[in-house]
């Protein structure tokens, strides 16, 4: 393990002296792979040590949370929990000393996972309907939520990047406003009967619907979908497609093709219909 830490202290301390040779990375390296899986190795070793020592150490009458061994693991676990919560503070506190949030995240992930072993082995597998087991179950729940977090961190960024399509949040909001203005203008010649659903769609908060709708992608009371349904007649717009930020939004923003000429038809060649819906 000495080699694991040597690079951490030796090399980096040197850089302080020269100031000209900063620690630089030439390639992107994710938090899971950080320093060639340093924290995965440390945390794996820790788990192994606990499992082996648990088997070798004879605690009378049997392993449980109240034995000296159980207390040792319990203290270690409690300390770890406190340290794990410190990430929330650490990531918001910019200080000028040596630290890297990526290293912290990496350690947080792997040491957090090792808590499953530390916590469970601390119990001596004495689980039952009591407050101790409740605490253990809640801890496991938190760890599982962390696992979900890792999956999200690993898979969503690509989709985020693709969906964003080089637009910034401000530009997206601006695009929605522009569509609203265009729709408003385009609805001018319509009869009051036809105008009503358009106005209703315009009045709707583009981010309404609550968390259920956001997570499921279903908007049963979407006024825009209703307006499309009412006005399109023959053309049945499929709500799912209409809700996507597709390439169409950029097209509309740049107004480089027919999609822009809202007066003729509000249709985009790519997504089939108005893509202004969220």
């Amino acid at each position: 393990m000495a080699s694991l830490f040597s690079s951490l202290f030796g090399a980096r301390r040197r850089s302080k002296a020269t100031q000209t040779e900063r620690v630089r990375e030439r390639r992107h390296e994710g938090f899971l792979r950080y320093a060639n899986f340093r924290w995965a190795k440390i945390s794996g070793g820790l788990c192994l040590l606990i499992i082996v020592s648990y088997a070798l150490i004879d605690v009378t009458p049997r392993h449980n949370g109240g034995s000296w061994y159980g207390y040792t693991l319990g203290t270690l676990g409690a300390g770890l929990i406190l340290w794990l919560t410190a990430l929330g503070y650490r990531k918001r506190k910019m200080t000028s000393d040596y630290w890297s949030l990526k290293a912290w995240t990496s350690a947080h992930v792997y040491l957090g996972l090792s808590l499953m072993v530390i916590g469970t082995w601390h119990t001596g597998f004495q689980l039952g309907w009591n407050v101790h087991t409740l605490a253990w179950a809640l801890m496991m729940l938190v760890i599982l939520s962390g696992l979900y977090g890792i999956i999200v961190y690993a898979t969503l960024p690509q989709a985020l990047s693709n969906n964003r399509d080089e637009m910034t949040q401000m530009q997206m909001l601006e695009a929605i406003r522009a569509f609203d203005r265009q729709l408003h203008a385009a609805a001018q010649p319509l009869t009051p009967q036809d105008t009503a659903p358009v106005l209703k769609a315009l009045d709707e908060d583009p981010f309404a619907g609550g968390i259920g709708a956001r997570l499921s992608g279903r908007y049963p009371r979407c006024a825009t979908a209703a307006a499309l349904h009412a006005l399109a007649g023959r053309e049945r717009a499929t709500p799912r497609r209409a809700r996507r930020w597709s390439g169409c939004s950029r097209r509309n923003r740049r107004r480089s093709d027919g999609c822009a000429s809202i007066s003729g038809s509000a249709r985009c060649s790519k997504s089939g219909f108005m893509c202004m819906c969220r």
Partner: protein
Amino acid sequence: MTSKVEWKPLPTEAVKVAIIGSGPAGLSAASRAGQLGLSHVLLEKTDHLSDTIFKYQKGKRVLATPDRLDLRSDCRFAEGAREYILGNWDDDANTNKVYAVKQAEVTEVTGQKGAFEIKTSKGVVKAENIVLAIGTQGNPNRMRCPGNDLPHIIYTVDDPEDFKDKHITVVGSGDAGIENALGVAEEALENTVTILNRSKDFARAKAKNVSDMMEAGENGFMSIRTETQPKAVEPGWLTLETPTGEEKIQCDVIVARLGSVAPRGFVEAMGIEFTGPDREAFPKLSPTFESTVPGIFVIGALAGYPLIKHCMNQGYDVVEFINGNTGLTPADEKDLAAIFANLPQKISVSEWLEFFRQRVRIFSEVSPLQMREFMLDSKATHYRTGEIVFEKDEPGSSLFAIADGHAVVEIGGGATVKIEQGSIFGEVGLISGRKRGATIRAGEDSIFIEVSRTAALKLMAGVPGAKRVIERISLERQLLQIFRGGLTVEDLQPVVDQAQVERVSAGKVVLTEGEQGDDVYVIRSGSMVVEKDIGGKPIFLRYLPAGSFFGEMGVLSGQPRNATVKAAVGSELIKLTGESFRKMLAAKPKVREATEAAVAERAQMNSFIEARKANYSSAVDMYSDTASFIMKEGLGEATDALLIDENLCVGCDNCEKACADSHEGLSRLDREAGKTFAHLHVPTSCRHCEHPHCMADCPPNVIHRGPDGEVFMEPGCIGCGNCMRNCPYGVIRMEAAPPEKPSLIRWLLTGFGPGPGEPSPKWTKKKLGEEKPKKIAVKCDMCKGIADGPACVRACPTGAAIRVSPEEFLSIARLEEDAD
């Protein structure tokens, strides 16, 4: 505000000195004349003093830089609000008995020293001497329609936020007009903005400005009216002449941006010569500010001194000179004395200046006045034998001149080269902005003068002789460094004599694959990309930074060019003819060997990539496409750029927050903005260019390159915005630092106040109340002084953000890893 000055009628008798222009320089000169009891007249074209500062927005803070310079004037000047400074000057003009004449615009100057005739809009003035202190603002072109003298027509927009809920019409469709229109058309200001263009298209403006304007037009933020011009101005209304007839629109403010007449033509008409034809040239002046026309003196911004303090000191000095005070030492004498204080010999400042002028080749054509200016930005240091001046790979962009003794260059392998007295060194950093190429020591007890980059560039622009010497020496050195093997300056003579400097714009092809040719090129500034057509697709082979050479394969083999070379960014190349190059190689077999070895290495790499292409086509294509994307984004001139891997970026904006919190509360990067290719995102963030565009025109000279290669700003920014406009990547903001935020713990526990990162403008505004702090330029300093490196990278939780140079990022190792 109204002027408190006691204006006088035009003098009927000849005066000793006529001062044209009542800015800081002119007013200070007139005040000195008034104090000395010299017959004088101060001619001002408007009805108030100091028009440029008068036109600043209400309450704007005027800074008094440089701090180290003492003020020597009969007028007061210290940092303060515009009203305070103008009020002081009005009072000072009266107490100093200044004979000021308003609304006397000078149209023509005739005669010679002792008997000048100055034609003004009020009549003719006779004067023995003239002091020109007209600044560089020029006269804005006025609107020509009826009503063009109404007060709601303005010629500049200092702060768009001064306009809220107004009907604003911008006349003129150049960059200035479009930028003003975009500024006031900001949605939050709720202005109704119209921009008028006499013709159909916007040919005079930058493409970026035009597209921004078109977008704003489409989004309904402004109405763009082409082939339209103003016909009549009335308070509140404007009549337009449109292709379909006349139209009257509501209009509370007219911003007229119709260009201006630069003062140069007026100055040249008097017979005053300039140092050169460029826009940056200044009138040629003697140490007493006298121009090439005897009796006409030029001071202030027009003479090349844009800072108020300089101007005021010069006003004082020039009148003393005219009054016959030859013993006056300039106000900067004590600063110069401080610069020379550590030198072993104890002689006077003027003796030192003369000593340097006579001994150093690049100073030989410099006037004593310019010499003072350069020395103020320079350091004169005494080195003992063997003392290191700078080390190899140290960043630095200053130029050293050897005034006494000699320097020794370590060229590797224990070998050294001597640089004689009178010569220069360090010019590579000056020209390409790269790190030092070799370690330099003092060969004996020596005196070296270190000239800052800005001063050196000013020297090159102002003194053609100095420019020639620097360019010649730098070319010789560059060639010596590239082609080793016992080459001497004499061997290079024929090559250098035939060398030509070529400027190429970004994307221009220099060599085309398959063509015949034997010229060899050395990249002086900028960078190149080498591409080869493999399987019908141009494949990126190599990135060539400044200081490398190409085209040598053609000379050695006589074969057609085997790859295409084009400029990644605007670059300067030195073209050496194949014939002279071949002769040099023939004379020096060792150089030929070294060159052949370099060629072999490059050829090997080419064949490596070609072989990869056959086996791992997609990996090579990806590498090549990534390289082209990076070059297209202008990273060819970067030394250190922020690159985000969007496979890892979760969009938490912690980089921006960390940036703001590591500095004074303002973020220097915009993560979301910028282009993306294959999930590689180039955010809006400083790239620390090799040749920083921001450095080009900084009046107080506060932008420098630091020890880690970072381009940073030291305190002293005057908020002129030149750097922001010059940056092609839009990474410099003009912003005032927000007030102190409550502590992080308090925010975490209570949720009150802004959290980490830049506070919202709303919060800042509420906190500041009526106070309007001065906006200054804010740019990335690569977290200078923080040993662990840039905060944006350190604060990335997933490792998505890194800072790299293009050559590090596009190393061949990357391709190998991708392919494996």
